[in-house]
């Protein structure tokens, strides 16, 4: 705000207008002069980077030389990951699951099963992860993402009896609160997938699948808690609530293991972590490695047995089962490798182009024509 006093560059405070009078009595104002330190007089030592050829050109070449090996490493790692995808939606008439996909109704108590044979060309070593994948399923739709009650899922008794408004219209049914409420919980994936290995001598061996350690630790132990505390009877804790409309069983009957029942059921937790993209995969089961001599999944013929409960044909969605090994960079995704190689090469080429430009035009920057 402009006042009638000012400070000139020497730090004097003076008052204009009646300047002469104030200057005479200005001895008392002199102690407002700022200190002569480097900080207050803006004389701090400073580094002044400018873009010279000596810094920019080596930087481009170094970045190019770093990125290309990283990209190659990522690409090779991604290619070494083994993965197989089996679509079992049953769109074609020739598909084993075609009948199941046609005769669907929410009220049927008899579940439809189908078997899909497939072959593994290479043995899969170490832990093998089994995922279910959905396509054209927009778990990132805003109204869908908001349709949950985190307090209820954290075991809060009050939210259990009266779910939040965000869960509407999946909050109450038959005059009882729904536990768990919301559209996300209501649309939970409920197919059952089982894997069988066809021995060369004809027997079908079931591949053992573990259903624990598939959700994030923080989700399982902090975010999702059962009401009534640890070790309580879940059926009693959920008394007075009803199951979501599209579920076949209530939430306290999801698994016989009490550590995997209720809200802390890991399949439920994995489903509630909404995916970012319309084509996604979620961890279903883990096939633990047996010992270091035998591969976890040897080469050969396998059968996938599906209990087909989840309807996707109505929105042109697709369901698939994915078996994959894992590396330090995650699943099979060549994008980062290719991106690094591309950016590295472009950087290197750009460095060469800049070198040529600097060689031809670089002398215009001499300050010879800057006069005082």
């Amino acid at each position: 705000m402009l006042a009638s006093s000012y400070k000139d560059e020497d730090g004097h405070i003076s008052v204009s207008g009646s300047g002469a009078a104030a200057a005479a009595g200005g001895g008392s104002l002199r102690n407002k002069k700022p200190e002569n330190t480097a900080f207050k007089q803006q004389r701090l030592p400073a580094w002044q980077p400018i873009l010279t050829a000596g810094t920019v050109l080596p930087a481009f070449f170094i970045i190019g030389l770093i990125f290309i090996p990283i990209g190659i490493g990522l690409y090779v790692t991604s290619n070494n990951i083994k993965e197989i995808e089996i679509d079992y939606t049953g769109v074609d008439m020739s598909s084993p699951c075609f009948n199941c996909s046609q005769n669907f109704s929410w009220n049927s108590t008899k579940s439809c099963t189908c078997s899909i044979p497939f072959q593994l060309d290479q043995p899969y070593e170490s832990n093998v992860f089994m995922y279910y994948g959905l396509s054209n399923f927009y778990q990132n739709h805003r109204r869908y993402v908001k349709s949950r009650d985190d307090s209820q899922l954290n075991g809060n008794e009050e939210s259990l009896r009266s779910p939040s408004k965000e869960c509407e219209p999946y909050a109450r049914h038959d005059n009882k609160p729904i536990a768990p409420c919301g559209a996300i919980a209501n649309s939970m994936f409920n197919d059952t997938l089982e894997l069988f290995y066809n021995d060369p001598n004809g027997t079908k061996v079931q591949v053992p699948l573990t259903a624990t350690e598939i959700a994030w630790w923080t989700d399982k132990h902090v975010k999702f808690r059962n009401p009534g505390g640890e070790g309580s009877d879940l059926a009693a804790a959920f008394q007075g609530t009803t199951k979501p409309v599209n579920w076949r069983r209530p939430v306290y009957e999801l698994d016989s293991d009490p550590n995997n029942n209720g809200f802390i059921n890991e399949d439920f937790i994995v489903w509630m972590r909404t995916a970012a993209l319309p084509t996604f995969r979620k961890l279903y089961r883990i096939i633990q490695r047996r010992n270091n001599l035998l591969p976890t999944l040897p080469r050969g013929n396998y059968t996938l047995e599906v209990v087909y409960n989840y309807p996707v044909r109505s929105f042109e969605g697709r369901k698939r089962m994915i078996l994959s090994t894992i590396s330090w960079m995650g699943g099979k995704n060549p994008f980062l490798g290719i991106a690094y190689i591309t950016v590295g090469s472009i950087c290197f080429l750009l460095g060469i182009v800049l070198l040529i430009i600097h060689h031809k035009y670089g002398n215009r920057n001499n300050g010879a024509d800057v006069s005082h």
């Binding site: 050829a53 995922y131 993209l277 920057n365």
Partner: protein, 262 residues
């Protein structure tokens, strides 16, 4: 600041970019918009490609909505900090403190917001619990951030370097000269008082500025001396003819004003 002021004294051509509207024109705005569009596309599609159909290194989810948002946001912070570093011309300790401090503050606030404690106290406000811990410990995430920041910053660096080589502006030349030679001693300070607060600031020397508004009766207690508006554009004055202006030494003016009042 002191250095800038006497650079302007030594090389008055440095006023030209401001008067020619080089840095605040429609062309500058269009360049800025193109750069932003490019950066936005990179900041979305590189994380999108990196997390599509992939998982963590222990097989669990990383392609969920919360992790993707967290990754894109962290990429954005890194890119913005890198761009800020490019545009900072004088790096004092204060600059260092605030730039690295702001990055550190971002990570501190993120981890606090996504911590167990915050979730348990304010459950519906902080639903992103565990996201930062579980997604930012993946080498995949850090490689994505590195790629995104370089992809956003390198075109800017390349373009600036090319323009500096082919068409150096007066700023580039002076800066280059400053780095090569030692600076001349600052001119001796004239111990005069200035009535400069009655004029508008030098920042808008390319146009009329706000001199008329500032020196009107709404802001000053004394009657303004209207004839002293040094930055009003005269149609045949030296500024209109694109020549350097000559200013009268201020001491004479103060003498005149004091003599006119008394």
């Amino acid at each position: 600041m002191v250095k800038i002021l006497y650079l302007l004294d030594c090389y008055p051509q440095l006023y030209c970019p401001g008067q020619l509207n080089m840095y605040f024109s429609k062309k500058a705005f269009v360049w800025c918009m193109l750069h932003s569009c490019y950066s936005s596309l990179v900041l979305f599609f590189i994380p999108w490609g990196a997390i599509q159909d992939t998982v963590r290194d222990d097989g669990r989810d990383i392609a969920d909505y919360q992790s993707f948002a967290s990754l894109a946001q962290t990429c954005l912070l890194v890119v913005v900090s890198a761009q800020l570093c490019l545009d900072t011309y004088y790096w004092t300790t204060v600059n260092h403190f605030f730039v690295w401090g702001s990055l550190a503050a971002y990570f501190a606030i993120t981890f606090t917001m996504y911590s167990n404690g915050m979730f348990l106290i304010f459950t519906s406000i902080f639903p992103f619990i565990g996201t930062a811990r579980n997604s930012l410990n993946q080498p995949n995430a850090w490689l994505t951030m590195f790629l995104t920041s370089l992809l956003c910053v390198l075109p800017v660096v390349a373009l600036r370097f090319i323009l500096m080589q082919i068409r150096p502006t007066i700023n580039d030349r002076v800066r280059y000269k400053m780095q090569k030679d030692t600076l001349p001693a600052p001119p001796p300070r004239r111990p005069v008082r200035r009535v400069s607060t009655r004029r508008s600031g030098y920042a808008f020397s390319h146009s009329q500025g706000y001199g008329a508004l500032v020196t009107s009766e709404r802001f000053l207690f004394k009657r303004p001396i209207k004839s002293r508006l040094a930055f009003s554009v005269q149609p045949d004055g030296p500024l209109a003819r694109n020549l350097p202006q000559v200013f009268r030494p201020i001491a004479e003016e103060l003498h005149e004003s004091q003599s006119s009042k008394s």
